[in-house]
């Protein structure tokens, strides 16, 4: 039976997790990788970030794959934009014109009984929309993903910090170029199946695939199931098995 103070700590933690998730999604959507990973993440050896391609393990690997690789991408995309229109160069290149809406929906959040960790599962009905001179356009991209996240409480700083993230992309396609289901079906009839795409980072300790995009022959996946009430972060209650030690 938890005391009032313990319950209050857990309640505040649960609420703070919602804020952290929102910050993460907003910074990610605007291409602010350094801020996304520098400010709200636990910088330890068991910090992990997983996607369909596998899992980056340890703070340096996560930083390298999520910040350096990502920034390289962002600058490659936006520097030519500045040469076309110099006005872009007066703003942060990483966010100019970038609006990746990783909307967070369907939260399930549990804080451990011991108050030292928390777990959250979300769905995203996302949208990639392009800011532009004229806001009315045809051609935007939808995406549907699931997120499983673990957090740890840092007693020294009285802060909750991201510890693990598992991204599970399910669908990503055009809102306007025909029906996505029919697109996959037509390809499947030719024996062509899209299982998961995008660039994998240069260094990954645990190679995947950990999750596949939906296609006509994709079996059900429960890669990031919702958290249940739990006592402490362990291999039965984690989104990153064998990486549950914040002291590393």
């Amino acid at each position: 039976m938890l005391t009032f103070e313990q319950r209050l700590h857990n309640a505040l933690g649960s609420q703070e997790i919602e804020n952290i998730k929102a910050r993460h999604a907003l910074w990610h959507g605007m291409g602010y990788s350094k801020e996304e990973w520098d400010t709200i993440w636990y910088k330890g050896g068991d910090t992990t970030w997983g996607h369909f391609f596998g899992r980056m393990v340890g703070w340096e690997e996560v930083w390298s794959g999520s910040v350096i690789d990502s920034d390289e991408d962002q600058y490659k995309r936006f520097t030519p934009k500045c040469r076309e229109d110099m006005s872009f160069s007066h703003f942060n290149l990483r966010s100019t014109g970038s609006c990746g809406c990783h909307n967070l929906a369907s939260p399930v959040i549990e804080v451990a009984e011991d108050g030292k960790s928390a777990r959250a599962c979300y769905l995203t009905p996302g949208q990639l929309c392009q800011g532009g001179e004229f806001t009315l356009h045809s051609g935007c991209t939808f995406f549907y993903e699931r997120y499983g996240s673990d957090f740890v409480y840092d007693e020294k700083t009285d802060r909750w910090l991201y510890f693990h993230e598992q991204v599970c992309p399910d669908m990503m396609g055009s809102c306007n170029d025909g029906n996505y289901g029919q697109t996959l079906w037509e390809a499947a009839q030719q024996g062509v199946f899209f299982r998961g795409g995008g660039m994998a980072p240069n260094n990954i300790t645990e190679k995947g695939p950990l999750h596949h995009d939906l296609c006509p022959v994709q079996l059900p996946q429960n890669t990031a199931k919702w958290p249940e009430p739990y006592r402490t972060l362990d291999n039965d209650n984690t989104y990153s098995p064998n990486h549950n030690d914040p002291s590393k």
Binding site: R23, G178, F194, G197
Partner: protein, 277 residues
């Protein structure tokens, strides 16, 4: 970020816990009221009631700000009603059995506004709060010929909230509209392309992984009906330029703060300038 919780008692922390939930509910209610066209009800129920707060209240959008209560009401309720009657006229002019009356306002129209990915921070003094959320919804305008213009919309909602008694109220609201994307067919067809035999995608997996489906490049198609409904703010300015995307959003994201400073708020005093040499 500051160590917030150490300076509050447990009783104060419980109040703050609930304050954040009330604010999330308040802003979600705004979305329903906004989509339901319950504008007068929204102003009465959700917005500031005290005279001094109403004097400094503001409603902002891409084109500027409506400052002060009278200007907000005049646009939000009065002008909005005119817009709705203008849309109804298309129906009543074309169809004999559609009466040009308040009973038919909103015929063929639909919208959904969402508040998700929300970020809420209370001031240390517990009297104000700042809120940011994404709004990814839709607006739909029907026509009497049985067609409709259907759009996905995207933007962010920012708000300063203030506590009046035990209730939280909207004080400054800013809608930053990013895009309106037609939901209609583009005429193009997406395809899934098979992988090249030598590509990484072709190796190892069974069945082998194809290249990702083709994705659209946005094609700009005209004046935005959503922006057209933003009216002519009483304080016009470049309050939000979607061209530069979320360039200012990093600075706008609420962070823990001690007390309200209008220069960091979401009213006109807090507006950042789009300085381009």
């Amino acid at each position: 970020m500051k160590r917030m919780n150490q300076q509050f008692t447990n009783d104060e922390l419980v109040v703050r816990l609930w304050d954040k939930e009330k604010i999330r509910d308040l802003m979600a209610r705004h979305c329903y009221y906004y989509a339901n066209e319950w504008r007068r009800k929204e102003l009465n129920d959700l917005w500031v009631q005290r005279y001094d707060n109403r004097k400094t209240a503001s409603l902002g959008n891409n084109l500027g700000y409506y400052e002060g209560w009278e200007n907000i009401c005049s646009f939000y309720v009065g002008e909005r009603e005119s817009q709705r009657y203008a849309r109804l006229k298309e129906y009543s002019d074309a169809l004999e059995d559609v009466e040009y009356s308040n009973l038919n306002l909103g015929l063929g129209q639909m919208s959904t506004h969402t508040a998700n990915t929300h970020l809420v921070e209370l001031s240390d003094d517990g009297l104000t709060a700042q809120y940011l959320a994404m709004d990814s919804g839709q607006v739909t305008y029907g026509h009497p010929d049985g067609t409709a213009d259907e759009y996905f919309i995207s933007g962010t909602i920012l708000a300063d909230l203030i506590k009046e008694g035990d209730d939280w109220k909207i004080w400054h609201l800013k809608i930053q509209h990013d895009s309106t994307c037609s939901a209609k067919p583009s005429g193009r067809k997406a395809t899934v392309r098979p992988p090249r035999p030598d590509s990484d995608a072709a190796k190892g997996e069974s069945p082998p992984n194809a290249a990702p489906p083709s994705r659209p490049k946005p094609k700009y198609i005209g004046p935005d009906p959503v922006v057209e409904e933003f009216g002519t703010p009483t304080t016009p300015m470049e309050a939000y330029l979607p061209k530069f995307g979320w360039a200012f959003l990093p600075d706008q994201m609420p962070v823990p703060y001690e007390y309200f400073d209008s220069r960091k708020g979401f009213g006109p005093d807090g507006q950042q300038e789009y300085v381009v040499y």
